[in-house]
Amino acid sequence: MSVRSAVLSQFKQVAQEQNKKLAPLSDDLPLSESGLDSLCFAIIVTRLEDALGVDPFTSTEQTEFPVTLADFIRFYEDAAK
């Protein structure tokens, strides 16, 4: 499974589990308008760590946060390199 498809499938699964209405997933979708809240993102990050073996948000130097869905996917693609 590619990084992109792993991320997209977690967005859909967590939205369903948490009864959130997910916005249509496009690259330029701002995460703040995705319909998911911060707890949903915590779950997504944990599950992606299990699936991909990386957590781009844990490194102590990491201070930048992704704004759009494409940024979020890029964080994982870069961390998985």
Partner: protein, 244 residues
């Protein structure tokens, strides 16, 4: 078997907690720097009476940067983590005016920063797994005064504040977060108390004695159990009535 991590599980209160949890049907995972002789006996005893109920993992909780790796390794080895007992702490006493900054830093690092970072990584997995329990070991010194313990008290008060707000944050994800606040209990940490101070504490307690390690371990077991499913964000004081 539900997995419960207990930091500082090799001696004192932590050892009492892992013994009780192992006997109660949990798999208690004692995380501590070194395996002590009493823990070694407890491991043998647990293996004989309830196989698989007690495990030891060597880790120095002051190594904050290594905590994410620890949690990943624990989940890989043992599976989902049901409970976390943040018990490990250091208890230097001394008047603030003379306390070296390095000691103040160590108190804050081990008693506040480390449990918060550990909780961050464990609670994420609890949320992803659909729920869990966190019990933070605070102290009555977090809400009453005791000369010579100002920095220790600051770290314990911080744990109570952390408990309350985190309980609000993760409640809807099925995670309960509570604190236990023991009074002075006979452990290595309180060995520095003079007989006279100890008697004074006993005399000022409603029950005229100090609580025992097992009294505190019972409170932790209760907060992890099904009977405490509707309790979150609170502090359970176990001090034989010292602060009543």
């Amino acid at each position: 078997m539900r997995n419960v991590l207990v930091t500082g599980g090799s001696r004192g209160l932590g050892l009492g907690i892992v013994r009780r949890l192992a006997a109660a049907g949990y798999r208690a995972i004692a995380v501590a720097r070194k395996e002590s002789d009493p823990l070694r006996s407890a491991l043998q005893e647990a293996e004989r009476d309830h196989p698989g109920s007690l495990r030891f993992v060597a880790f120095d909780l002051a190594e904050i940067d290594a905590i994410p790796r620890l949690v990943r390794a624990l989940r890989k080895e043992f599976g989902p983590i049901y409970g976390l007992v943040n018990n490990a702490a250091v208890g230097f006493d001394g008047i603030l005016a003379l306390m070296p900054t390095s000691q103040i830093e160590q108190l804050v690092r081990v008693n506040t920063l480390s449990p918060i970072v550990l909780t961050k990584h464990v609670v994420r997995s609890m949320m992803a797994d659909g729920g869990g329990r966190i019990v933070n070991v605070a102290s009555v010194v977090g809400f009453t005064g005791y000369s010579g313990l100002s920095v220790y008290a600051a770290t314990k008060a911080s744990i109570i504040g952390f408990t309350r707000s985190l309980a609000r944050e993760v409640g809807r994800m099925g995670v309960n977060v509570n604190s236990v606040a023991p009074g002075f209990v006979d452990t290595d940490m309180t060995r520095g108390l003079k007989a006279e101070q100890r008697q004074q504490i006993e005399r000022r307690s409603a029950l005229q004695r100090l609580p025992g390690i097992d009294d505190v371990a019972c409170a932790v077991e209760f907060l992890l159990g099904d009977g405490a499913k509707s309790i979150t964000g609170t502090v359970l004081t176990v001090d034989a009535g010292n602060t009543a």
